[in-house]
Amino acid sequence: MRVTRDLDLAEECVQEAFTKAVTAWQQELPANPGAWLTTVARNRALDLLRREQHLRRLLPLLVEEQVAPEEPEHTDLLRLVFTCCHPALALESQVALTLRLLCGLSTADVARAFLISEPTMAARITRAKKKIAQARIPYRVPDPEEMPARVDAVLAVLHLLFTTGHTAPSGARLVREDLTSRALELGRMLHTLLPTPEVRGLLALMLLSEARTMTRTDEHGRLLLLEQQDRSRWDRDVIEEGLLLVRQALQAGPPGRYALQAAIAAVHADARTYEETDWREIAALYALLLARWPSPAVALNRAVAIGLGAGPEAGLRALAALDDEPALATYAYFPAARADFLRKLGRTEQARRAYEEALLLTENEVEREFLQTRLLELDQDKA
């Protein structure tokens, strides 16, 4: 039962940190509470790092720290990260525990973020805690040989949190800022505690996406494509931070999945206008990503990049090669991409059918409205 006790203790600690924050904020509310928390967490971690000079080479030493009588506080936080994101827990439970225990969100808020009822979420969290206790999922930092796989599991949770916030699967709002900012906070924290190239890659990826968030929709909440976005409103400071991290991640050796995705985001961020986008570079990066992480969605993005670099016909050919991919059969972006290329070639009726197909496949209202606008534009193209 040691694990439960530790876990509940950790939960109390996180809540204590948030209580402290709330007490401080009652006197003076910071302009950006999320950033304030991150700064506090980072300063605290940096203090600890300074105190423990050896911790620069964190991985091997953390394991020794485990047996040392006095453990630095930040290993508590890392342990909690690895317990919440243990692969023996269902991914949905890992995400729920991370929000509940690491971010201190209430069960009601976690439930709202995932569009399920509070009792369902409460049951999910209880079940996960029970498994941790009964199967004795350890509350510790993994051994060095287990570390890469376990860090991957943590990154998968953060990435899922971020993308869930970034493109809500349904409902009226495209971005649920809460989730994206929580994922960013956790990413910064993890990067401070465990600055490996893949952690850096994911943080860079999140920052480079976040920097463009404000321009993804217009004042009516309508989805704007990269092509239509006002690049002068992209957050340059955040982009610079992201670009620096991408460079560091790429210098560290063969890039992993997140570093490659961040590199792709960096090519976009680097282009001053949409027309300046280096689509060939992007298609080449997608090819590398596909080799590292074979996934139908990556193959689709590569096909789109080929079309944007080498022309709509090349794009249609690249898309056609994916026709038999079962995972893409229900993915709205696939027919939507085909529709865009068909439209550029003036094949209006085929484009119309493809947009209509895409409309059947998405429930996100913002995306639906976008596709409907495209359909109306087709009529104007004809007239």
Binding site: A135, R136, I137, P138, R140, D143
Partner: protein, 110 residues
């Protein structure tokens, strides 16, 4: 130390001892983790299984495994480990010619 039952699932028709490689694998597992192994056995194929279910008045005895599955229980180890991570590390040493293993914590009463 806690106990975990590691259930080995695989081809229902597999005859224990029919493959030298698998046998060698189990021997190596025994050498590598001897002190962690509290017990274990291989089972005859599911074609030898008999199932019993209460049917109100008494018992219905039938031929065959309790559940017909593509991957059937073929054997088990009872292991001792400090926590699930250690149990996972140990279990990865078990030969898994087809299928895989399931780790179940053993209930401690009292």
């Amino acid at each position: 130390m806690s106990q975990y039952l590691v259930l080995i699932y695989g081809d229902p028709t597999y005859e224990a001892g029919s493959s030298d490689d698998v046998m060698k694998g189990h021997m190596k597992f025994g050498e590598d983790f001897g002190s962690k192994i509290a017990g274990g056995n291989a089972l005859q194929p599911t074609s030898t299984a008999t199932s019993i279910r209460p049917d109100g008045a008494g018992f219905a005895v039938t031929d065959g495994p309790f559940l017909e599955t593509k991957e059937a229980l073929g054997g088990y180890y009872l292991i001792e480990a400090a926590d699930l991570d250690e149990a996972i590390t140990i279990s990865q040493g078990i030969p898994m010619p087809a299928g895989g293993v399931e780790i179940r914590p053993v209930v401690v009463y009292g």
